[in-house]
């Protein structure tokens, strides 16, 4: 199948900041009904002085900083290993946490509305919920990573169903991460340690899979976040290969993003305020040729600032924008889909 789908790098939002305007190891982003971005910052390590870095930062796609809420901790409404954010139809924000083994629910202003979740492996219990997605009926699908399954809940946390077990066969998982829905309500899961993406119907019946281990086109090295557009194209954060691949429903690779970031408005403001560093940066070669001995893509990303480094999530809006959470560079790289 040929396609006219094409993408262009649009811009970057982000700047490393422990508090206030900026991000610290963002892992996921959700858009509310007005298109405001809610960026979930996992930060770390978990030492007292750094716990406040864990928070939700809100901003617009045009880089206007709006505010932040939340902090690290184990109390109600606090975060320890926050992993995923999603909105329901009433603009309530759900935050999953892989350490506290729960889902917390917030208003758009950050008021805690409720929380649910219990650690374990029985029906309805969870063990490191890595990602979640909410369907049109406000039910919630959760990738239950250490239980190697997907679970479905009501928005209040009532158990509705589950599928999957440890393994590499169809319908089995090895530490699943990303989860997404297409417009038919079918469910896509990044089967992280099996280096593939699997597709299921809403009841969990296996339908299809894509990918194998490797770094060639269409292969994956530990896929993380995932999204599906209205045409059924699949966007996969190929975490270990430090890229995002876009696949058609037939599995054809339509595009692949390795990262194109230029400075964000927030970063530019920083260099304007620190002209000596800004001048030295201008004189520096920011795209050095490197020859890593091992772990080539990761080490290259450690050396070249514009590249994706540890992409954990990809989200889409209704304007054709692709938001890639570039976790280790503390930013979102945004691409625009053309026609």
């Amino acid at each position: 199948m040929t396609t006219t789908t094409s993408f262009n790098y649009s811009h970057t939002i982000g700047f490393l900041a422990n508090q206030g305007r900026g991000f610290n190891n963002p892992v996921d982003v959700a858009l509310d009904s007005q298109g405001v971005l809610y960026v979930l910052n996992r930060a770390g390590p978990e030492v007292a002085i750094r716990l406040p870095y864990k928070r939700v930062v809100t901003c617009t796609v045009d880089e206007e900083y709006l505010g932040e809420f939340g902090t690290g901790g184990t109390g109600d409404g606090e975060f320890w290993w926050p992993s995923s954010v999603a909105f329901d139809s009433e603009d309530r924000l759900y935050v999953a946490d892989e350490a506290l083994q729960r889902v917390s629910i917030f208003s758009k202003s950050g008021e805690l509305l409720g929380q649910w979740g219990e650690h374990g492996s029985r029906d309805g219990q969870i063990d490191r919920p890595s990602a979640m997605v909410i369907d049109s009926e406000d039910n919630l699908y959760l990738s239950d990573s250490l239980n190697n399954r997907v679970q479905k809940f009501t928005k209040d946390g009532q158990f509705l169903g589950k599928w999957g077990e440890e393994g590499a066969g169809p319908g089995q998982f090895n530490m699943p991460w990303g989860i997404a829905l297409d417009s038919d309500g079918d469910v896509y899961v990044s089967d992280w340690r099996n280096d593939r993406v699997q597709k299921f119907d809403p009841s969990g019946r296996y339908l299809d899979q894509w990918g194998s281990s490797g770094d060639a086109e269409g292969q994956f090295n530990r896929p993380s976040g995932i999204a599906v557009d209205p045409d059924g194209n699949i966007y996969v954060c190929d975490w270990g290969n430090e890229r995002v691949q876009v696949l058609s429903t037939s599995g054809q690779v339509l595009d692949s993003f390795r990262g194109d970031s230029v400075t964000s408005t927030w970063t530019t403001a920083y260099f304007e305020a620190n002209p000596d560093e800004g001048a030295a940066r201008l004189a520096a070669d920011l795209e050095p040729q490197v020859s890593p001995r091992s772990d080539i893509q990761r080490e290259t990303s450690a050396n070249v600032e514009k590249l994706l480094w540890g992409p954990t999530s990809v989200k889409l809006d209704d304007q054709g924008r692709v938001y890639i959470v570039d976790s280790l560079r503390h930013r979102l790289q945004i691409y625009q889909r053309g026609s």
């Binding site: 390590p45 978990e46 530490m175 920083y270 004189a283 560079r329």
Partner: protein, 467 residues
């Protein structure tokens, strides 16, 4: 009590690794001592830990931007590695080529340096020195990026001779100057920008950028140099060749290895044996280590439990024993902090001289930290390592006298050998609650708790502080 071969193998594993679990000891004993030495000298190519899993859940250990994250990352390796000597020799070289986060503000840069030690730490010393001289973290640490043809900076050249390869008294001030000139032009890419960024700990707009070695021939002093009696248009490689051929270099490396792996008290005859092997093998560290491990002086009763464990050995060894931190768990950073409080911030040594070792590890404050940290690790009967110890004790017999109970715990804690006074205290404590019994179901939980308590007492002894 276990036999001599068992005691010798536990000694080897305390020195060449971070202690051995009962299961590991079974495997090594099956293999035999000499074959175990060979296995240790040839690290597995497999990753020692599931790095992808560590990076996924510990997002901060993926970028390794911060010091605590990087310390925790190394601790995972020390605890989980199947090639313990690879991590132990890395710790040794890290103490010798002591490079600290504090000046660099770039933890991954120091971690990258430790990868040299893993990769080349058991190879030829010449290769190791050359890699270290080209390592961006070292170039930054000892200011070789400021060592220019027209304005030499002697910092790296001096420490190369004094602290890394020969020791004071084996070269002249002129040799230092020549050495520094030989390394002019050995710098890092984008040195100006990276220097500005390294001076600011908190403000890095998009995190750290790794550094790369850059040789700038325009900035290299091509003129003749006289170094240790040789004259020529020497570059850094030539200087390293000359250094490695010096008897003083062989003695220096041998004495450092002896001090770290054998005893806090020098033995000139033993060091000479190692120095001779260094020279015979053209500086092959693997050969020197083999000679050491197979020697009488290493295997001697006199040197067993004659070294004070470093904090890193203490926390990693105790976690291995307890079976804790075998999978991703945020409390690993707490363990790294424990080692810091005991006086060893790995990846951030106090100076280029590294740590002062031996009895200097112990003071009243650090001793309390050691005991509290170790007691916490072994005091949980739910940890897999403690469960295994309990299983093995139960497997042997249903009822153990207080003396048998203490002896089994000391054996299974890695063959801890206690003095008479300590032994009496432990047995007295055990005797206060009578025999350890598993013959009635209602006693099992209590007996398991008693084993964990006994292990807590054992790790608090003077003897457990020794390797």
């Amino acid at each position: 009590m276990m036999d001599d071969q068992w005691a010798l193998t536990t000694h080897l594993l305390r020195r060449a690794g971070f202690g051995a679990t009962p299961q590991e000891l079974d495997e090594y004993l099956e293999l035999g001592y000499d074959a175990t030495v060979e296995k240790l000298l040839h690290p597995s190519q497999d990753l020692p830990v599931d790095e992808d899993v560590v990076r996924r859940y510990h997002i901060d250990q993926n970028s390794l931007m911060l010091i605590e994250s990087s310390q925790a990352y190394w601790l995972y390796r020390m605890i989980n590695t199947t090639s313990p000597l690879q991590e132990k020799i890395a710790l040794f070289w890290h103490g010798l080529f002591a490079t600290a986060y504090g000046k660099l503000n770039h933890a991954k840069g120091v971690v990258n340096q430790t990868n040299i030690f893993r990769r080349s730490g058991l190879g030829y010393f010449r290769t190791l020195l050359l890699e270290v001289a080209r390592d961006p973290a070292m170039i930054f640490w000892l200011d070789n990026k400021d060592n220019h043809k027209d304005a030499p900076n002697e910092n790296f050249g001096r420490e190369l001779l004094e602290l890394f390869s020969m020791g004071i008294g084996n070269y002249t001030e002129e040799d230092v100057k020549s050495c520094a000139r030989a390394f002019t032009g050995w710098t890092i890419a984008n040195a100006d920008y990276m220097s500005i960024r390294a001076s600011r700990d908190s403000i890095w707009p998009h995190g750290r950028l790794d550094w790369q070695f850059l040789y700038d021939p325009e900035d290299h002093d091509e003129t003749d140099k006289t170094f240790l009696g040789h004259t020529g248009r020497f570059n850094g490689e030539d200087v390293i060749d000359i250094i490695c051929a010096q008897p003083a270099c062989a003695w220096f490396v041998a004495s450092k290895l002896y001090n770290f792996f054998v005893s806090d008290t020098p033995d000139e005859g033993a060091i000479q044996t190692l120095a001779d092997e260094f020279q015979r093998s053209n500086g092959n560290i693997e050969s020197v280590m083999r000679t050491m491990f197979l020697s009488g002086f290493f295997q001697s009763e006199k040197v067993r439990f004659a070294r004070v464990k470093s904090p890193a050995e203490m926390v990693a060894g105790t976690a291995r024993l307890a079976g804790s931190h075998r999978s991703t768990d945020w409390s690993i950073v707490g363990l790294a902090m424990d080692a810091n409080f005991m006086g060893q911030e790995i990846l951030n040594p106090p100076s280029v001289e590294g740590w002062h070792t031996g009895i200097e590890w112990i003071d009243t404050g650090s001793l309390v930290e050691r005991i509290n940290s170790a007691a916490q690790e072994v005091g949980n009967p739910g940890h897999p390592g403690i469960k295994e110890i309990i299983r093995r004790i139960r497997e042997g017999q249903d009822v153990l006298s207080p003396q048998e109970f203490v002896d089994r715990c000391l054996d299974l804690a890695g063959g801890v050998k206690v003095g008479e006074a300590t032994g009496q205290h432990l047995t007295g404590y055990a005797a206060a609650q009578g025999d350890l019994r598993f013959d009635r179901d209602e006693l099992v939980a209590c007996s398991e708790e008693r084993i964990a308590n006994m292990l807590q007492l054992i790790v608090a002894t003077r003897e457990y502080q020794l390797a």
